[in-house]
Symmetry: C2
């Protein structure tokens, strides 16, 4: 492999440079568009993200959500209806102020949506009249824009990114709280089981709650560099927005009541970044078969004299795979050697490579190479599809187990501040410790350990095992601390 | 049916009001968002448009296109690189001029993309180096924004709409011209065969060519009110953009050459509007089964004493349909009568209704009602899935035949100006006539008949049958004239 083709750093040696190289060399995205934080997404990443969208959408629809497409612009007056929300987001808004060629300003500025609460809830107020209209559960797959001040990074932090936002309305607080649990299950079923990203579902401390929400619940994972990444989060909005937007319904006793709301935001774009970062290796991408763009690539090995028989067999094997629903492609490019193609498809993370040469034709065999382990086997051609399927199942399982193992190793206990800081400095990860619930101690962690209190475990009260890690006074809860992207 | 639930006008009596009512009452979209030209898309339209997207994307990918996602903002300097293009679009651009809360202006304005040539071709220049990189065929499914001056109308003309844009680059002019033909085939395979919208594929006259293109080819259809609607169009860009954006490649003789380009834009949002307008009837939507959100709705008819047996049978029938890949839903809502539900699902255009009552349970029968014809049959429950499939096939076929018949009737010949104008005033449609190719005569048609020359038939030179319809001098071509949306 030429140096230009492959990765020139090891993932364990320089993770940051490895990530930059894999984004570019596996042709996931191009950063040369020259507008800060706006990425050009190339086919290989789009295909995988489309699969991720499909799985999330199917799960959301199975759980009663319906798809909608809302305008991507929000008039400033809608945007400001919920004051905490407006306060929290206004520094991050791109404003459209004029249209056409005469340079005339609009009477009212339009926000390019940074999130859609204020767009959607304006309409929800019109759609919801009686208790029969509830629950109402909707989602949209879309992009959002944030005038982000922090450094941007492909698929991690951008000024334009792709996500799903689900917005749910209920008659009672009890149902809204049950939705938080359902969202956690959705995250488990899809983000963990399909995308192979383990997480803790945490209740964020009050000072780190979504602007306008009562409570924020978020799935935190640990990246290979020890940094924390927030995957989907759910916000319990209580009646804050329903009061600001006047979302009321006539209940069964003919009484007008404000509705209860939640929203859930799996950021597909960022989760894709986590998939790339978490599972990749020194050869390039490793993609869980559940979301891979293809299942297998077939590489012919031939001289001119073998061309006909090898090509025919490649086609036959491709057909046998497609017959059972597997997606295969033949890399028949003449201008590249088989070796170059092996490296190319390893870089791209094709889960299985099938090598077919003249000797295989004669022996009625094919060679299968498994991407994540490099394991190579020769199997009877008539069993190719079945064997590929077994490899895919094994790959999905072992990518998940590897990620789970890494995650478990990176949740560690600390009782004292210096111990916590040392663990963070050494390897990062999530540090389990005790907190008195005072903001001043959270501020100290921020200032003196450059870390955040990510929250308490959702749905489980953990037993306090020491005094507050900062002030040494009585602790009120067991919390997880980490340094985040 | 209460007046509020159903349509209160006939399609043939007042098409415009019928269209407005069906958009609202079938819950396709809500126009009350209060930003001109920006529509709120409700679940029923989104589900159908998602199916339309899938079919178009599959066809484009089968023909070698790869998906990409480009930034939705374009710096003003990129936008202005191709001068005719900039000239043609600058009156239609929404400009982002500031971000955040300090009101500080950006150094360079960002256009919200009205179309993506200038975004994509900036990157194509980096990606294309040698002949091996060609052809390059890419598409993106996205929304675009146009600061539209004309009156907006849901799904027909808006300031934000959803489409696909495919952008292709070739080494030779010959290949680019072949792409125009391939795009016409894509339109035939999907827009005609699946969406049941007939069209003529026309070469637009020079004065009506896309800004920056050498030639524009477009599929024109006729709406029920006789107005012409442009469905997908393909633009032959020649080397205009490749020169402006410096898209060059080293050919097989090591010579630097500018590439040849085409682009193709099926506007899913507008095509959906044409589907609604074309196929609907006085009861509401009629949707081709190939893109319908569901195949069949099951309506239980029961009193409390029959509830268990009827509900169980509904579930069993639903399962038997799903087993063969049909998508069925049970309308089990307690608060509505069966009659109300019949009207509801007719309004929504569910292709088949399955009625199940206690007598059907006893007789092991189900009643099937076909949406487009109203035909009602009682069939053995064990054949339900098979019979539903037959009805769906019949429906798809007859929706297409009906639309084709209407379209054929609305293409008429005229030799003289007054005859042409009378036909346009009477019923609209496409008028086939003769033209001398002079701009002044086209202007006269515009001014005196309020109509446009839509172009000549693609791929076929039609025999001139009279003098120019305007000036009476020698005609150069047979053209189609119509009044468009």
């Amino acid at each position: 492999m030429s140096e230009e083709q492959g990765l020139t750093v090891k993932k364990s040696g320089n993770f940051s440079e490895w990530y930059t190289q894999v984004i570019s060399k596996a042709e996931l995205a191009d950063i040369r568009y020259n507008v800060k934080g706006f990425l050009v997404h190339r086919p290989w990443s789009v295909k995988i993200m489309k699969n991720m969208y499909s799985l999330l959408e199917r799960e959301l629809e199975a759980k009663g959500h319906e798809p909608v497409w809302f305008p991507s612009v929000i008039p400033e007056s809608f945007f400001e209806k919920e004051s905490e929300h407006a306060e929290g987001f206004k520094a991050e808004v791109f404003w459209i102020t004029e249209g056409g060629s005469d340079g005339k300003k609009f009477e009212e500025r339009l926000a390019l949506r940074p999130t859609s609460e204020t767009a959607m809830y304006t309409m929800f107020a019109l759609w919801i009249q009686g208790w029969k209209d509830l629950p109402m559960k909707m989602y949209q797959s879309c992009q959002v824009w944030r005038y982000e001040g922090k450094a941007t990074r492909p698929f991690i932090r951008g000024r334009e990114f792709f996500w799903i936002e689900a917005h749910d309305v209920f008659a009672t607080e009890r149902e809204a709280l049950a939705q938080v649990k359902e969202d956690m299950e959705t995250t488990e079923n899809i983000v963990h089981k399909m995308f192979c990203l383990p997480f803790l579902f945490l209740v964020r401390p009050k000072h780190d709650t979504f602007a306008g929400a009562v409570n924020t619940f978020a799935a935190d994972s640990v990246m290979p560099d020890g940094k924390i990444i927030q995957l989907p989060s759910t916000h319990m909005l209580g009646q804050n927005f329903s009061k600001a937007f006047d979302i009321k319904f006539l209940d069964e006793n003919e009484k007008k009541t404000h509705a209860w709301q939640t929203c859930y935001g799996p950021a597909v774009w960022r989760i894709f970044g986590a998939v790339v970062a978490m599972h990749g290796d020194d050869k390039g991408l490793v993609i869980p078969p559940a979301i891979s763009a293809i299942d297998a690539v077939i590489v012919p090995i031939m001289f001119e004299k073998d061309r006909k028989e090898v090509s025919e067999k490649c086609e036959a094997v491709k057909k046998s795979l497609e017959k059972v629903g597997l997606r295969a492609t033949i890399d028949a490019r003449d201008n590249y050697t088989p070796g170059w193609k092996y490296n190319y498809w390893e870089l791209k993370g094709a889960p299985v490579r099938i090598e077919i040469g003249p000797r295989d034709v004669k022996a009625k065999k094919v060679v299968l190479v498994r991407r994540d382990t490099g394991e190579k086997t020769s199997v009877d051609e008539k069993n190719a599809a079945e064997e590929v399927r077994k490899i895919l199942e094994g790959t999905q399982k072992s990518i998940m187990e590897k990620a789970d193992g890494f995650f478990q190793k990176n949740i560690r206990d600390a009782s004292h501040f210096n111990e916590m800081k040392k663990l963070l400095d050494d390897k990062g990860g999530l540090i389990r410790t005790n907190w008195c619930d005072k903001q001043s101690c959270a501020d100290d962690i921020k200032e003196k350990a450059q870390a955040d209190i990510r929250g308490t475990l959702f749905g489980k009260t953990e037993k306090i095992f020491n005094k507050c890690v900062v002030c040494g006074k009585e602790a009120k809860s067991v919390v997880y601390v980490g340094r985040a992207y």
